[in-house]
């Protein structure tokens, strides 16, 4: 029972985060989390802060290492929203983290099992066809605020099972 996301192709979706540009977690969804948050960051709140911090730092790190960027590596320099070399994903031995940062600074993170192939297109679909469609376009939604939406959740669940 419960809210599992086992796709027909065998990929497992573990959890999903949406952050705004300030680092506030707008939405968190969890399908499976075999390693409880108590064994990781401790609390869900700390987990969210750590996740934002990690992706923020990875973005800076990639921009500094970007071989096509400006001459000198510039670790720690502020990067305007929408610019810089983006990291897209990373793989560990146990999970893959898939990342998308939109031009407005909204960050989407989807943790999955290690599969083959890039999930960048899937991340854009989640942003454009699910987040924008069912959250942003909702006249009752305050941009940049946390949200819970049954339609968003239903569509997200349906989509991840199709991966």
């Amino acid at each position: 029972g419960g809210r599992r996301a086992r796709a027909a192709g065998g990929m497992v979706c573990y959890n999903f985060y949406v952050f705004n540009r300030e680092g506030a977690c707008l939405h968190y969804a969890e399908w499976e989390r075999p390693k409880p948050v108590q064994d990781g960051a401790g609390t869900l709140e700390d987990d969210h802060k750590m996740m934002f911090g990690l992706t923020f730092s990875l973005k800076n790190f990639c921009t500094a290492l970007d071989p096509t960027g400006s001459e000198k590596a510039n670790l720690g320099a502020p990067i305007p929203i929408g610019t810089g070399c983006h990291f897209r994903s990373f793989k560990t031995n146990t999970y893959a983290l898939n990342y998308l940062e939109t031009p407005t600074g909204i960050k989407l993170i989807l943790n999955t099992s290690k599969g083959t192939g890039s999930l960048q297109e899937a991340m854009w679909v989640i942003y454009r066809d699910i987040f924008c469609e069912f959250v942003v376009k909702n006249p009752l939604y305050t941009p940049g605020a946390p949200f819970e939406s049954p339609q968003f959740t239903a569509r997200l669940d349906q989509f991840v099972k199709s991966l």
């Binding site: 990639c62 071989p67 670790l75 990291f87 983290l97």
Partner: protein
């Protein structure tokens, strides 16, 4: 054979200190200070990826994919990390890092004058690394 298309290589000790760095061209100019910071930052990000894992048994990032490069990382059982930057999709980088690990074992660890966790300054390490890169 064809050369390994590695842009740069870093070796980091288990405390996060840089013990080896080499740029092979095609990447950003990286002076010693920059390389030290890159190594230290990577060490931290690697550890955080373990904390955030939704699945138990995570040992950290093995591959980071960015727009313009890939970063491959191999962590030895001792905690020493070997990571390299390469163009996106460069094949056989995990094998290359394992070869570097073997070269480290043979020409640094087995060198009686080498002190573990300290910067690697062994000519044989450099020479064998270059051979491995050139696949000679």
């Amino acid at each position: 054979g064809v050369m390994v298309d590695v842009t740069s290589l870093y070796v980091v000790n288990k405390s996060g200190g840089l013990i080896y760095h080499r740029d092979f061209g095609g990447g950003k100019r990286m002076d010693t200070n920059d390389a030290l910071r890159v190594a230290s930052i990577w060490h931290s990000l690697h550890a955080i990826s373990v904390q955030l894992s939704p699945v138990p048994g995570c040992e950290g990032i093995e591959l980071l994919e960015a727009d313009t490069f890939d970063l491959h990382c191999f962590q030895a059982p001792t905690g020493t990390k070997f990571f390299a930057l390469a163009p996106p999709g460069t094949p056989q980088m995990p094998q290359f890092l394992r070869t570097v690990y073997e070269i480290y074992a043979d020409y640094a660890l087995k060198n009686p004058f080498y002190e573990v966790e300290m910067p690697i300054r062994c000519q044989l390490f450099d020479d064998n690394l270059e051979s491995a890169r050139r696949r000679t």
